[in-house]
């Protein structure tokens, strides 16, 4: 899937750029993208290290295990029998971080969860569902958007909070339902 998307985007861009006589711009944009990827990862590294450090303190204090135990029945019901027990802790950390809008805290735990859910090189139903939930946003408060709106001089920056929560609920619900349906049909 990702291979197809990568091939399609790169190939189409090159061909279109060539047809419009803008190959140079396309290639330099690709190179700029590569540089941007390195910059993004380096910029995120400090945040990853910081939050992972804090979460490891919580984990060693036993707080994560408690939270994971409490969310286990819900997660098992949601994600089905292909969910391995040892993925419960990182999933709980990931979802809590995402709910609170702490992306840098959620990503490392999410990757750990994905590693534990994968079976060889194939995604399990639980992993597919986990990816879809992570892609569809479960953030409770869109803090970045509200701050941007305030900065742009909005008379009520928070007016979007409730519609955003509803739209997020719709997207997450559609994601979960489509996963379940696809699983059943395949």
């Amino acid at each position: 899937m990702l291979q197809g998307i990568f091939l399609g985007l790169m190939g189409l861009s090159l061909v279109t750029g060539w047809a419009r006589g803008q190959t140079d711009q396309v290639v330099s944009a690709m190179l700029a993208g590569a540089r941007e990827g390195v910059e993004t990862a380096f910029a995120a590294a400090g945040g990853f290290a910081f939050f992972c450090g804090l979460i490891e303190i919580l984990r060693q204090a036993g707080a994560v295990r408690g939270l994971a135990r409490r969310s286990a029945p819900f997660l098992q019901r949601l994600m089905g029998p292909s969910l391995p027990q040892d993925a419960l802790e990182p999933i709980t950390v990931n979802l809590t971080g995402n709910l609170l809008g702490l992306g840098n805290a959620a990503t490392p735990a999410g990757i750990e969860a994905a590693r534990r859910m994968a079976r060889g090189d194939t995604a399990t139903p639980a992993l597919c569902l986990f990816l879809v939930i992570n892609s569809s946003s479960v953030q409770l408060l869109p803090t970045t958007v509200v701050a941007l709106r305030a900065a742009a001089g909005s008379s009520s920056p928070g007016a979007v909070v409730l519609p955003t929560l509803l739209a997020t609920a719709v997207s997450t619900a559609v994601g979960i339902l489509s996963c379940k349906l696809w699983e059943k049909l395949s």
């Binding site: 990702l2 998307i5 990568f6 985007l9 790169m10 861009s13 279109t16 750029g17 803008q22 396309v26 944009a29 690709m30 190179l31 993208g33 590569a34 990827g37 390195v38 993004t40 990862a41 990853f48 290290a49 992972c52 450090g53 490891e56 303190i57 919580l58 204090a61 707080a63 609170l100 702490l102 999410g110 990757i111 994905a114 590693r115 994968a118 090189d121 992993l127 597919c128 990816l131 992570n134 892609s135 569809s136 946003s137 408060l141 869109p142 970045t144 709106r149 742009a152 909005s154 007016a159 979007v160 519609p163 955003t164 509803l166 997020t168 719709v170 997207s171 994601g175 489509s178 395949s186």
Partner: protein, 165 residues
């Protein structure tokens, strides 16, 4: 929200101190893991951003917007928010830049400004999330994860158009 982060940090430190966890050593263990994460996501991040920036520069992004506009007007999605909607699953920083531009051009309290704001929050960066998680977990067969995630993004965007009066 400015109190949330200091409170979280304090909570971690307090929990560690109260339960007599080796706070400093634990932080170092976690920090190392965090740095490894950054390393693990690098290749996928570079590949995705190459493809997306090339796609933009070739003019195909604009073409796609023009192509989709009539269909999406049916769902009361304003034309001005289309570039943002299409950018949302591809690049988080790109979508944020587009939202900024949209809020400046149309005004944050205009209908387009409101729909765009809701769109931004209704979905995550689908390709980034999927590419990064899958490559770090060395999963090649992602099965239905990406199409279902895109379906969720589409539903969220349509909901944004319908929910804003």
């Amino acid at each position: 929200m400015s109190w949330a982060l200091p409170l979280f940090i304090l909570l971690c430190l307090l929990a560690g101190a109260l339960r007599r966890a080796p706070v400093y050593d634990a932080f170092l263990v976690g920090a190392k893991e965090g740095l490894n994460t950054a390393k693990a996501i690098l290749p996928a991040l570079i590949a995705m951003l190459c493809a997306i920036r090339g796609f933009e520069a070739s003019g195909l992004m604009d073409g796609l917007c023009r192509l989709c506009a009539p269909a999406l007007q049916f769902f009361r999605i304003p034309e001005e928010t289309l570039p943002l909607m299409l950018m949302r699953p591809l690049s988080g920083s790109g979508a944020l830049a587009m939202l900024k531009a949209l809020l400046t051009a149309q005004g944050p309290d205009s209908r387009a400004g409101l729909v765009g704001s809701v769109m931004m929050g209704s979905s995550e960066t689908v390709f980034y999330t999927c590419a990064v998680y899958l490559s770090a977990a060395q999963v090649k067969k992602s099965r239905y994860a990406v199409p279902c995630a895109l379906l969720a993004w589409l539903a969220g965007s349509i909901a944004a158009g319908l929910l804003v009066p």
